[in-house]
Symmetry: C2
Subunit: 252 residues, 2 copies
Amino acid sequence: MKKPLILITNDDGISAKGIKSLIEVALDFGDVLIVAPDKPQSGMGHAITVNHPLRLDKSVLFDNAYTCTGTPVDCVKLAIYEILHRKPDLLLSGINHGENTSTNVLYSGTMSAAVEGAMENIPSIGFSLADFDANADFSGAQLIARQLIEKILQKNFPPHVCLNVNIPKVKSGDIKGVKVCRQAHAFWEDRFDKRLDQFGKPYYWLTGEFSNHDKGEDTDLFALSKGYASIVPTQFDMTAYSTMAEFNNWEL
Amino acid sequence: MKKPLILITNDDGISAKGIKSLIEVALDFGDVLIVAPDKPQSGMGHAITVNHPLRLDKSVLFDNAYTCTGTPVDCVKLAIYEILHRKPDLLLSGINHGENTSTNVLYSGTMSAAVEGAMENIPSIGFSLADFDANADFSGAQLIARQLIEKILQKNFPPHVCLNVNIPKVKSGDIKGVKVCRQAHAFWEDRFDKRLDQFGKPYYWLTGEFSNHDKGEDTDLFALSKGYASIVPTQFDMTAYSTMAEFNNWEL
């Protein structure tokens, strides 16, 4: 049987521990191509690079690996259209240092790479560990990734969907299991940290608190808080179908 | 009656003709605050700036206007949390030079600013004209914007939703009307234009063709092709609810 071709990217950049952890798992299942940003690209969402040219360089960190000067979505596009000239059998993004639950799916470069995979109709998974530490323990996340990849390679993946997988910050053996969830309806309460530079001119760091008022027990945030890995099947049709009748009544 | 407070941003940058056209319309309805990128930010999607500090400067181009060094979503966050310290009554983004139909909602900085407004539960609209020209004729788009703003200020806007409005490239009097639509299921067929720099080293420009295989007559692309302005009510819950049962059957 032909080995599956697995494309791996992330948003923390090619030298992050998270992508190394994911590559280790993926190599047990297929041939792996890595195209990852050459620097951290957290918070880049679904950004693509249209006003600057992109560079693509061979990386010495792994076999069959490239770095790109652009965003995670740029990495996916370059991999498919410039390197492979075909679609991979599976796209894996991550493992992100820090969770991408709830509405963070919109800000997350990790998840946007997976959403881009869904647009290309490639079975795609974004993995995130609820631990921002550069030296985080990825063994639990690796366990979940292994289980999921094994299952996906046996099953028919629904078209134009990807998975948003978040793994709790607990010891590998303490993960309670896996729950299929919806995206929690929760938001950032933003704050800007205003500082003055050496000339007395202000600059701002975006910061804030993530705040969950969603009481549902079927959300990714709930599952994670109970020690489960959460899986949110994720799609890219943003139409608010339930409001269409109301806007039609407006007689625009 | 107190005048509504209207926040305006865009992704083409503060000096674009499109934002000027939108400001002209908005000033007839309320007090206007402008916070826009200091340079083009097309294709930035829902990106936020977390790895660099942001600058915010007063602009001389309009009254009550600021430029920001970040993305359209950064502009919305800075406006609410650093300048206003309250939510505006209405958020308008655009008018974009070039359409943001279909899956372009994901790549579009213009629409991501509106989606951020929806997350903040502010009635929000992104406007895009199907004409990339820097000197495009915005009179038709201004007409549609005027009609919509007037209506929205009379109505109760559904919570956590925004509108993706695209205006066809036709003379103002030739717009056939307005249609409430769903996001067309259509995609880019990407291509990279590979060139060599002065050292013989390659660089890549992202390019391609947008390709519509969605035969539906209820899509934004269909409405626009028939000379209508399209309105897609847009939300940010990306959960693929219809696939949850299937993934639950996988016994993960």
